[in-house]
Amino acid sequence: MSALAARRRTLPGFGLTMGLTLSWLSVIILIPLAGLFLRSLELSPEQFWNILSSRRTLNALRVSFGLAFAAACVNLVMGSIIVWALVRYRFPGRRLFDAIVDVPFALPTAVAGVALTALFAEKGWLGGPLAALGIKVAFTPVGIFVAMIFIGIPFVVRTVQPVLQDLDPEIEEAAGSLGASRWQTIIRVILPSLAPALLTGLALAFARAVGEYGSVIFIAGNLPNISEIAPLLIVIRLSEFRYADATAIAVVMLVVSFVIIFAVNRLQRWAQSRIPER
């Protein structure tokens, strides 16, 4: 440690900043999570299992994770296209569109929920025509899906954008002059170069959608077993003073999210390892 400290003398403050980092992370993240686990330990394994295997819990988890993943995938595809247009082309209003991408970041989620609900309700601007086609969005799982897409899009765009900006257009010209078609250039050159960023964007959008509460509950209709998301079920259990039930669901969400994020992270590492730093 003293040797390390001696070497670090040119950049002072290691001890202080490291200490602050550890205590801050503990207070803000680690201790609350540990508390959550401890709380769930009050349940016997049997009780824990009963809570989780109840139909309502399983359905809520399925709705949350399933729709979040689907929304993240849609965001991945649409986000990539938006990034491509924003980075590669110059058109009037480009900076405005670029700013609009951040709206879901900045907007209070409840406001977004109310706005989406009004829009997609049966008498709304979009809900009306869709209802005529027999598609019901508000107060159904489709509404949850729409809200999750809305809040996830900036995560994909903002993660991929800087990487695409750094990608030299010369490599596309090189691919073209070597005989690659446009499609081959995209598949073999551009997408592999963007893969780590795309995976990060996917993971972030997914994590956000799983945890989303505010915008979803307005549009979801919140019918148990159909359009009830896991975070809402937690709130319901809390309001019923069934704290153990609430923590059990929370722990499961935590573990599943962690496993998924971890898996995406490994995948991203693997993709990154094929593109060593310059």
Partner: protein, 345 residues
Amino acid sequence: MTIEVKNLVKKFGSFKALDGVDLKVDNGELLALLGPSGSGKTTLLRIIAGLDWPDAGDVSFNGEDALAQGARERHVGFVFQHYALFRHMTVFENVAFGLRVQPRAVRKDEATIRTRVKELLDLVQLDWLADRYPSQLSGGQRQRIALARALAIEPRILLLDEPFGALDAKVRKELRRWLRSLHHEINVTSIFVTHDQEEALEVANRVVVMDKGRIEQIGSPDDVYESPATAFVHGFIGESIELPIQVEGGVIRLGDRPLRLAADGLAPGASKLFVRRHDMLVGPPGSGAFEGAIRHVRNFGPVQRAEVALSGGETIEIDAPRDKELRAGDTIGLEPRRYRIFAGA
């Protein structure tokens, strides 16, 4: 493959990058496009490659219209200044890229591709790097891999855009010689762009000097150095002394001083006199066309370089052999062994 470029014009906004360029490149030639930045040389190269399109003019390969084809169909190998290697692919896959993206009908089988890539890596003497990634290579190695990649498609023409521009001086010199011997070996019609006159003169069979979107002179390295066609070429290639002179009634004046130089056949008016630094011979005061006082002297490799204040007011630098005795403060006479005068200011 011969290349013919006719009356090529290209504008970027109000800037004329190419302003009526005509050029013929013979089969198997190694041609240098030389000029300062903004002279249009890279634009010309990119138009030949199909990476840019002209506003007017024709480009033909072996007499057939090349502008009708995109970069993909032209079968032109292009080497970029900053290599443009695919960084998520190994060196091997980079070189194999052009072979793997061929249409299925003509694509070679995996074994043939492997053999071909191996041959190319041998050709650029980097077969031992096949499994590395571009980021693990030095600049010189990257550029050789970029060249191998371009050669993989058996290009009809090889185009190199400032191929050594991003490399340090020593590597650059090595690669120059190497490029020349490589060209000798594969003998494909090649054009390279450079702003480095030494590079152009050392590597190319023929040099095209460009300025402001126009071709100033086309000739062998000896031609452009020994008999520059324009004031620009004289000033750009080799180290020249440039003096503003006035031709009047058969007399050449520098400032208000008449020079002892013949003015036969020169148009009257403002002109420019060009002399190579080493063509200014030093003599005793009163001899030669010019007179001046030595300001200071520095040794410079095989020569000594003296700064001389001419009595006309101009200050010039001359190169003299090391055994000539020059001292700061001395007054000397200067006689240009060879010089050129170009009309116009």
